[in-house]
């Protein structure tokens, strides 16, 4: 299995990853439905990139056991079980579980990899499992 490594020091803040993610996963033209977060920090001049790194902290936090790991190693929230309590969102040390009008439930990176193709700064790259 492989996961996505984030090299945030290369991020230019262009949001192409978020736009691509939203298009791929929700068929929406927006950066606001993405499964990845970008937070600009200025005047110091850097961008925080928030992306699930499969640490697993969310899994035991979920009171209804809605979170599982799929065949690709991605963490997935089962929408039929999730009660949208927000415990996972609050617990995520990466701040990488998101809410948006695109879904009634929180979500995180599903390792689809669509964003990598459009991240020309190569902030996001695949890495074989540790």
């Amino acid at each position: 299995m492989k996961h996505i490594v984030v090299r945030s020091e290369r991020c230019t803040g262009c949001r192409l990853c978020q736009l691509t993610c939203s298009a791929q996963n929700f068929r929406l033209n927006t950066h606001k439905a993405a499964r990845i977060g970008i937070v600009p920090r200025f005047p110091e001049g850097y961008f925080e990139v928030h992306l699930c790194n499969q640490c697993g902290v969310c899994l035991p936090v979920c009171p209804v056991e809605a979170i599982s790991v799929d065949a690709n190693g991605a963490y997935v929230i089962d929408e039929s079980t999730c009660i949208d309590c927000g415990a996972c969102v609050d617990a995520c040390p990466q701040q990488a579980i998101f809410r948006s009008p695109a879904s009634p439930h929180p979500y995180m990176c599903n390792l689809c990899g669509a964003c990598l193709a459009n991240c020309a700064a190569q902030v996001l790259i695949w890495e074989e499992d540790r």
Partner: protein, 616 residues
């Protein structure tokens, strides 16, 4: 819902403190697309003829295009327009960043700001909610400082455009700032906002932009980005951005030095992109949906200052053109004008003009309030810029713009100002670049490089020749301004050679329409004629006399790669003859009734005839 559009135009009347949403009709979307085309149309249709640019009757237009905020690479452009207080004619100026997407997410494609408030206000937009809010707590702050303060108060997820103290004080080349270092720089639009007491626009939206074929757009985008990444120039342009052109401009003798008195710079290696990268680089920064990330965010340790840039234009106008020592001096000057909220091109021109007057003894230390305005004196330049922004002392004269300042100072000083139509030259000398000079002479906002950047053609076709240059500029003026209609950046096309047809494909995937290059170029000609018609309507005696190059271009370049080069009246006449012929305008450079009717501007022809500006 219209694919590619937020769906509404927001009309804000600051006099009555009222706002209203008007729908974007399918006709407006299809027939006029957006961006600068909407601005040209609304400006011609809605501004009273002869309006004083700084009066409440002038309006400011802020328009996105159908590709703005989409997944298409570099869809980051938004265009500001008004009747310019600097030139008295048509101005539009675009900026990158992220606000264009936010606006469309709030369901808005354009904002029209009308009237004037008696007290400082800012416009707050949160999806469908719109408020005109008190801005007295921000008035008096710098552009960048205001953005940070509003982000702090409203939240990071608001996108904000601001004016600085220069705009508040009606400096006629005040600019609008957004996303720390993106500016709509030219022509003094921020002074018009200042006259209306509008300090900022803050916007947040949540609705995705409707796209006809999102799957197709994603596929097309990924394919184009893949093409871009594999082009040899991609890593270089991503790394250096516009600063990469510095060495080239020096080598071919077009870099401005000491107010265009020379065109090669001895300290070139201390102001170029490579030196900048070594000395002050912090991070590459990209506008919305931009795989290039051409902007460079920097920190000058010497002056303890952060700035986005400098870009090449600032390196030229505030560096070599002022005789500055190194990129650190340019960075601090850049940071100063950014926060004061002044166009770095026209600021550079104003300071260079002042320094040349000082060099020639026309103005003295006493005239400058004790400042020694010698070439390379960064402290003098910084203090002088503050005098301009606050209109104190001699700054009040130069706050009118370099050309107007020369007219106030008199003593035959107008010949030292490098401008066309009152708008100062960008950073490309034209002693030996006739096509580029024609581009400045005929740009529809005054001497600006972006409408047609023709130096490459000057070099390939011959630097002394005028033959075919009118057609070159005509062709460039059809394609390049379309970028500001669609709401996209020209750099993928210009620098990385992304095919123009790929833009058309993206437009059709987004809108679901069937636009063609042929149709878009015909449309572009219509828009160009409309802005020309605006000048014709607004400026008494407008025509050929307004398309003349600066006096300096007639003088021999004393040294450097273009030593001995100069322009003649015969060359100027040949250039304009060829250019007017291409547009099918008359010998005075005015659109004809017949031509206007042919391209769907019959109502404009009738209006100009009625006003006695052209004859039937």
């Amino acid at each position: 819902m219209i694919n590619g559009y937020g769906g509404s135009i927001l009309r804000v009347d600051l006099t009555t403190r009222s706002v209203k949403r008007e729908p974007v009709t399918p006709e407006l979307a299809h027939d006029w697309l957006g961006g600068r085309a909407w601005i040209a149309k609304y400006m011609y249709d809605e501004l009273p003829a002869g309006v004083d640019p700084l009066s409440a009757a002038n309006k400011v237009f802020l328009a996105t295009g159908p590709l703005s905020g989409t997944l298409w690479p570099c869809s980051a452009k938004i265009v500001w327009g008004t009747k310019s207080p600097l030139t008295g004619g048509y101005i539009d100026s675009n900026m990158g960043g992220l606000i264009m997407a936010e606006l469309k997410h709030a369901g808005l494609d354009m904002i029209i700001v009308e009237g004037a408030s008696a007290t400082p206000v800012y416009l707050w937009i949160d999806d469908e909610k719109v408020e005109i809010r008190d801005a007295s707590g921000y008035w008096g702050k710098g552009s960048v400082d205001t953005e940070y303060a509003l982000k702090h108060d409203l939240g990071e997820d608001f996108q904000i455009a601001t004016i600085g103290t220069a705009g508040e004080n009606l400096v006629k080349f005040a600019c609008i700032t957004h996303d720390v270092g993106r500016q709509a720089g030219r022509g003094g639009t921020a002074a018009v906002l200042g006259s209306k007491k509008l300090k900022a626009i803050a916007v947040r939206g949540s609705t995705p932009i409707p796209v006809a074929n999102i799957e197709g757009l994603q596929k097309h985008t990924t394919s184009v980005i893949d093409y871009m990444k594999n082009k040899a120039y991609f890593p270089t342009f991503s790394k250096y951005g516009t600063t990469d052109v510095t060495d080239w401009c020096d080598s071919v003798g077009v870099i401005p030095v000491n107010n265009f008195q020379h065109a090669q710079y001895a300290k070139k290696d201390r102001i170029n992109g490579k030196y900048m990268r070594e000395q002050i680089y912090v991070r590459d920064k990209g506008c919305y949906a931009c795989p290039l990330g051409c902007s460079t965010y920097t920190y000058s340790k010497k002056y303890d200052v952060y700035v986005e840039g400098p870009e090449y234009e600032t390196i030229g106008l505030m560096g070599s053109n002022l005789g500055m020592d190194s990129i650190e001096e340019i960075a601090v000057l850049n940071a100063d004008v950014d926060n004061l909220g002044m166009d770095s091109i026209s600021s550079g021109s104003a300071v260079a003009f002042a320094m040349e007057l000082y060099q020639r003894g026309i103005l003295t230390k006493e005239d400058f309030g004790g400042l020694e305005m010698t070439w390379g004196n960064v402290d003098g330049a910084r203090a002088f810029l503050r005098l301009i922004a606050s209109r104190r002392g001699i700054g009040a004269t130069f706050a009118e713009g370099a050309l107007a300042a020369a007219r106030i100072i008199g003593r035959d000083t107008e010949k030292f100002v490098v401008q066309v139509k009152g708008l100062d030259y960008s950073a490309y000398d034209t002693h030996a670049a006739p096509a580029m000079m024609l581009a400045y002479m005929t740009s529809d906002i005054g001497a600006q490089h972006t409408r047609a950047w023709a130096i490459v053609q000057d070099i390939t076709m011959g630097r002394g020749t005028t033959e075919g240059k009118g057609q070159v500029v005509y062709d460039l003026q059809h394609l390049r301004p379309l970028m500001e209609v669609l709401g996209v950046c020209r750099f993928p096309w210009l620098e990385i050679k992304v095919d123009w047809e790929d833009y058309v494909t993206a437009l059709n995937l987004v809108t679901g329409q069937h636009y063609t290059t042929e149709g878009l170029f015909a449309f572009s000609e219509k828009v160009w004629n409309l802005t020309r018609a605006f000048w014709t309507r607004e400026v008494d005696g407008f025509g050929r006399a307004w398309d003349q190059p600066p006096a300096k271009m007639y003088e021999e370049m004393p040294d450097g790669p273009t030593k001995g080069a100069h322009v003649t009246q015969e060359m100027v006449d040949e250039l304009l003859d060829g250019y007017y012929h291409a547009y099918r305008w008359d010998q005075n450079g005015l659109p004809t009734v017949q031509r206007l009717r042919e391209i769907g501007l019959g109502y404009v022809a009738d209006d100009l005839v009625k006003r006695g500006r052209i004859t039937d």
